[in-house]
């Protein structure tokens, strides 16, 4: 088995931290999906690309900005016009997509190593994210499945809501450790658990 190293490895210290007098406001973890893939369509092939997503991941997306869906360990959401970020527990998603998405339909870009997924879950997750991003994370405006591309200072982040209290954040691998530290620091106020 080949050793793969998460950029978070030195900082992923499991336990409860910071304001333990308060209830643990959020749980922070690294879901480490086996595949993270960008699938992008041409102006006239968006529908075909979304059909490909439905075919491979069994997730149906509409064509509204940020539209997304989650099911189990599978997730997909719109990150830019005609661009989608897909994540799955298993490796090899890019290859499977390449087999059904020819170049004249869209492009498949494997980002499994290039992006690091960070999950924040808990009652205070919206509160913590509001410290970073100028995005309205209220459930009414940012429902389950919805995604957004945004940034915190210099760190580009793609965010998807997985449940009422759970968000997955995809950041560039090289920034992941720095962002993780910032996230933990911001969560000190509410107390946090690394799981």
């Amino acid at each position: 088995m080949v050793d793969t190293v998460s950029p978070l490895e030195p900082v992923l210290n499991r336990g409860r931290f910071a304001n333990t007098a308060a209830q643990t406001g959020v749980v922070i973890s690294e879901p480490a999906p086996g595949s993270i893939v960008q699938l992008a369509a041409w102006p006239d092939t968006d529908q075909k690309v979304r059909e490909a997503i439905a075919s491979v991941l069994k997730l149906n997306l509409d064509n509204s900005p940020g539209a997304g869906a989650v099911s189990g360990h599978r997730a997909a959401f719109n990150i830019a016009p005609r661009r989608y970020l897909l994540a799955e527990e298993d490796e090899g998603l890019a290859e499977r997509l390449l087999s059904i998405v020819p170049a004249d339909v869209g492009s498949v870009t494997d980002l499994s190593h290039g992006r690091t997924a960070i999950r924040i879950d808990g009652e205070k997750s919206e509160w913590i994210l509001a410290k970073f991003f100028a995005v309205d994370f209220s459930l009414a405006r940012f429902p389950v499945g919805q995604g957004v591309s945004t940034s915190h200072h210099d760190i580009f982040t793609q965010i998807q809501r997985r449940s009422e209290t759970t968000f997955d954040l995809y950041v560039f691998r090289s920034f992941a450790r720095s962002f993780w530290r910032s996230l933990c620091h911001a969560s000190e106020e509410t107390g946090y658990e690394i799981r």
């Binding site: 190293v5 304001n19 960008q38 190593h113 290039g114 200072h153 691998r173 090289s174 620091h185 106020e189």
Partner: protein, 996 residues
């Protein structure tokens, strides 16, 4: 003033005692007290000394408008000056100090300024420090001489030198309706909007919601106003669509209904809880805004109006009813309107004797007359306070008959230890003004009112000039409904409000002229005479007046002084106030901590960007170097090695054996799509559509203006797929460049570009033994010259990991770049190190990398500096003549072809001493008077291959100067010496080594 705590009443928690110190003396207060109320309760009347004249000052107001009682709070040795005592909540252990006094507040030597006060009027500095026309302190020299002393004397509090360790945070919030202010109007608006289902944020600058209801004596719907307010606050607190922000000053109103607010999260606590910030800065994007910010009572301008014991009438009422503090035992009132009579009633009920009510009006309303009678006060109409009596606190006031313009001889003394004044009310229209609303003068209220809203805000209550509580509540309810989108008429009944009701309209009297100093702006010691002096000296515009006198420019931003100042100026000019005009309010409404504006960026001012092998580098002794956001190994120094010794050793190892360097930071962009090759032909100066699959090519791109933008290799991985590499520094810029052309210029091209910099870990294995290293660890592909020629690409495995290998060289040696998935980067790196051990593989850092490239004459960002062309860098061989490309139309402009342009050359210091980047190249050496520069050094190193120091430089007509001599001139670092200008190809110019 003999203020004291009332035995009952107030919204303070008398069951708990809080101990604090003021100027080193211990005092006690209760939760709910401000520093001002607690000190007043302890009989303190002297709070500070004034800005310029060091006059004794007490408390004028009870809120954010306070201009006098400014203190310094000391916490953990950090000093925060100029905080109004009226807004500082006390906590156990609070340390407060008075300001602008020496050696003590009671005895301040600075008070000697009062003796020279006639010379210290407006414009004193401008006029006095012009400087004489004769030597030695001619002109500005005199100012520079005096500046030292002036700066020591200027200002109020003194900031400390200790770093502020407090935590500050920024928050983003979104809401349908933001309600600013939580008095009866604001509460009603918030409740109405929330009942409509809107997401509501209600912010109030005070700790306790309720605004004037907290000190009002009215009943609303049968309940005391404070209880009515508490009940609504409790309802709002339980509503999931409502966020309540107390201690929050909404200080800025910006475009698109974006508002800035400062929440003082833990200033009122002895210690913040773990992780809790001191201040939280909110950026609130609101669908609609309800401005229910109330109004500020104005003082009157008369001689000695700054003496401790003179206070705004509403403040006296607030101290009594909200804080349980009686601000004087024998109280006089001086007013031009009926609202002050309500304060008299409150003070009477709190136990004070109302000595007299002095009203400038000859006749007053029956309501006012009844109120005066109810509090057994002598009602003296048609009189005005001429001057105050007392040195450090009020003993009484001298009053004279007043005819609306001036006082007459008939004078009498009214003994009092406190004078409450009311000069009318100014609605707090600051936020509306910031939003662009031009205020409208209201003759009845003698105040500026907001115009009808032109943006998505609506006003309610005293903000609108509505001082009747029932009407304010109605306005709040309507505003809340309107803001939440409900335009149907309201069906609910109006609230029933009982209590003292009056017309707030004042007589148009702002100043009682007399001898002595009558202050308009208390905080900046601006007097009525200063305003007149400004006019005399030609400052007839309100904007000029403001700047010349500094009226309204202190930390209180003229909340109590702007309107009186304008009124006095209008009278002086002989124009009505609205013709004089008003200044536009600017953010912030109240002071904002710099910490909150900066907030925090944990660890450093910028995030760290780490390569997949970062931890390996650290573990193996690398000295890391910040390159943009990236951290890269500079050297892997051995014990006792200097930087130069280390990089020379590393570079020598590459030339003689094999080295390995982390190149993961190189920008990598996936260029995909049916038109990818065509796109690259347009982007690069050379052709890429002819590049076979599994081959790479060096390319250069220009900006549209014809200058070189970036260079790098691009690899063709498939018919429709390329991997473009860029310089580390320009990765983002190139990405934006590509996206711009795809989105805007060539939207018809089917091309996607995606940053894959982080997808790949990259290691460059360089040196004569590099192929041997790969042969020892690569499986699945051959790496010999046939299988992997120069610029060839193969796919294989190293230690079970899929890798992509391209044979290319930045060092000039036989070299390969090995790419793998970033998460496997360390695994592959270690496998390469292991395979290289028999060959003495040496990890090398940026310094050695730079040395190797300087020896080869390769360019980087130091030479591609945005001002150089392909010709300048001798890269014109990359300019295709078969196709157009970005920049091709502009690259041959006359100026870019000039003979004397800076061109890339090599430099050899003839004294064989190091020279620095940035050093100038000159034709003649004059150390004391450097001659004109003909160029500058861009990079230098000690070359182990050549055994001497070498450098690259950009020199005018550099190519034609090869073989000639010049000089290096670096006056800042005192480095001068002869150099020889040579070709930039120092080492292996034929490239025989890289071809193996």
């Amino acid at each position: 003033m003999t203020s004291t705590r009332i035995s009952m009443g107030g919204r303070i928690d008398r069951s708990r005692v809080i101990n604090f110190t003021f100027d080193g003396k211990r005092f006690a207060g209760h939760p709910g007290d401000t520093l001002a109320s607690a000190l007043l309760a302890n009989g303190v009347s002297l709070f500070g000394r004034s800005f310029k004249y060091h006059r004794p000052r007490g408390v004028l107001s009870a809120g954010v408008d306070e201009p006098n009682a400014l203190v310094t709070i000391v916490r953990d040795a950090v000093r925060e000056p100029n905080l109004p005592a009226t807004t500082v909540e006390i906590y156990d252990g609070l340390i407060a100090e008075s300001q602008n006094r020496y050696p003590s507040l009671q005895f301040d030597v600075g008070a000697v300024n009062q003796l020279a006060s006639r010379f210290l009027g407006a414009g004193f500095y401008y006029k006095t420090f012009m400087g004489p026309k004769i030597w030695p302190l001619k002109g500005t020299r005199f100012w520079m001489f005096c500046e030292h002393f002036i700066r020591r004397a200027a200002g109020l509090g003194t900031a400390g030198l200790e770093p502020d360790r407090s935590r500050y945070e920024r928050m983003n919030a979104f809401c349908d309706v933001l309600v600013v202010g939580s008095g009866p109007a604001g509460l009603s608006a918030a409740k109405a909007a929330a009942d409509q289902g809107a997401n509501v944020i209600m912010a109030d600058i005070d700790a306790r919601f309720g605004g004037s209801a907290n000190w009002s004596e009215e009943t609303i719907d049968g309940a005391p106003a404070s209880e009515w307010a508490s009940a609504i606050v409790q309802q709002l607190a339980t509503m999931p669509n409502v966020r309540l922000l107390s201690r929050t000053s909404v200080w800025g109103y910006y475009d698109s209904n974006t508002l800035a607010a400062l929440e003082r999260v833990s200033d009122h606590k002895t210690r913040p809880s773990f992780g809790e910030p001191r201040h939280r800065h909110w950026t609130i994007r609101a669908g609609h805004v309800v401005l229910a910010t109330g109004a500020f009572e104005r003082p009157m301008v008369f001689t000695g109006n700054d003496l401790p014991g003179v206070m705004l009438a509403s403040a006296g009422q607030r101290y009594a009813n909200e804080f349980g503090v009686l601000i004087g035992r024998r109280v006089a009132l001086f007013t031009n309107n009926d609202t002050a009579y309500g304060a008299a009633l409150a003070l009477k009920r709190a136990g004070a004797t109302i000595a007299a009510i002095i009203d400038v009006r000859k006749t007053v309303s029956d309501t006012a007359r009844s109120a005066a009678a109810e509090c057994y006060a002598e009602l003296i109409t048609g009189y005005a306070v001429q001057t105050t009596e007392g040195s450090k606190q009020l003993d009484g006031v001298r009053i004279q008959q007043f005819d609306g313009q001036r006082t007459t001889e008939r004078e009498r003394l009214v003994e009092a230890d406190c004078l409450l004044v009311s000069g009318g009310w100014s609605p707090a229209i600051h936020l509306a003004s910031q939003a662009g609303a031009h205020p409208i003068w209201n003759e009845d209220l003698q105040a500026f009112l907001p115009p009808p809203p032109t943006d998505k805000w609506v006003g309610a209550g005293a903000f609108n000039g509505t001082f009747d509580t029932a009407t304010a509540i109605d306005e709040g309810l309507s505003a809340g409904r309107t803001a939440s989108g409900n335009t149907k008429p309201r069906k609910t009944k109006s609230s029933v409000v009982e209590g003292y009701k009056c017309q707030p309209n004042p007589a148009p009297v702002f100043e009682i002229k007399g001898k002595g100093k009558a202050f308009v702006d208390f905080q900046h010691d601006v007097t009525a005479d200063d305003v007149r002096l400004a006019h005399t000296e030609g400052f007839t515009s309100v904007e000029h007046l403001k700047r010349y006198t500094t009226l309204g420019m202190a930390t209180d931003q003229g909340k109590t002084s702007n309107v009186p100042g304008m009124a006095i100026m209008a009278e002086t000019i002989g124009k009505p106030i609205p013709e004089v005009g008003s200044t536009r309010f600017r953010p912030p409404f109240a002071p904002v901590s710099v910490g909150a504006l900066a907030a925090e960026r944990f660890g450093d001012l910028k995030p760290e960007r780490l390569t997949p092998m970062h931890d390996w580098h650290i573990d193996h002794g690398a000295t890391m170097y910040g390159a943009g956001l990236w951290y890269r190994p500079m050297i892997y120094g051995l014990k006792g090695e200097t930087v130069e010794q280390a990089y020379v050793r590393e570079a020598r190892a590459v030339r003689s054996g094999v080295g390995i360097v982390d190149v993961s930071t190189l920008g990598k962009i996936a260029v995909q799509g049916p038109d990818a090759a065509e796109f690259l032909d347009r982007v690069y100066t050379n052709m890429f559509s002819t590049l076979p699959v599994n081959k790479a090519r060096y390319g250069m791109m220009l900006r549209e203006d014809g200058f070189v933008m970036d260079d790098g290799t691009t690899w063709r991985l498939g018919e429709t797929e390329f991997l473009m590499t860029t310089t580390t520094a320009n990765a983002g810029k190139v990405m934006q460049h590509l996206e711009y052309f795809l989105d805007v210029v060539w939207p018809d091209l089917k091309v996607h570009v995606t940053s894959v910099t982080d997808q790949w870990a990259g290691a460059a294995v360089a040196g004569p033994r590099s192929r041997a290293v790969l042969e020892a660890c690569v499986s699945g592909t051959a790496v010999d010259n046939a299988a992997l020629p120069f610029m060839g690409i193969v796919h294989g495995e190293i230690a079970g990991v899929k890798v992509m290998i391209c044979r290319l060289s930045f060092s000039g040696e036989l070299a390969y770049e090995v790419y793998c998935g970033a998460n496997s980067g360390t695994h592959v790196w270690e496998a390469l190190i292991e395979a290289g051990k028999p060959h003495g593989i040496t990890p090398y850092g940026l310094e050695a990398l730079g040395t190797l490239r300087i020896e080869k004459g390769h360019v980087t960002g130091a030479e591609i500096d945005g001002r150089t062309t392909a010709h300048d860098l001798h890269l014109d061989w990359l300019l295709s003549k078969k196709k157009p490309f970005i920049g091709s139309a502009m690259m041959n402009r006359e100026g870019l072809q000039a003979e004397d342009r800076l061109q890339l050359v090599g430099i050899i210091p003839l004294d064989n001493l190091p020279i620095n980047g940035g050093a100038h190249i000159v034709e003649e050496l004059h150390e004391s008077h450097p001659s004109d520069s003909i160029g500058h050094v861009t990079a230098m190193c000690y070359s182990p291959a050549l055994g001497k120091y070498i450098a690259l430089a950009l020199v005018k007509a550099g190519k034609s100067r090869r073989g000639s001599r010049a000089f290096v001139s670096d006056p800042l670092r005192k480095r001068f010496g002869p150099v020889e200008i040579v070709s930039h190809h120092f080492f292996d110019p034929e490239g025989s080594r890289l071809h193996g």
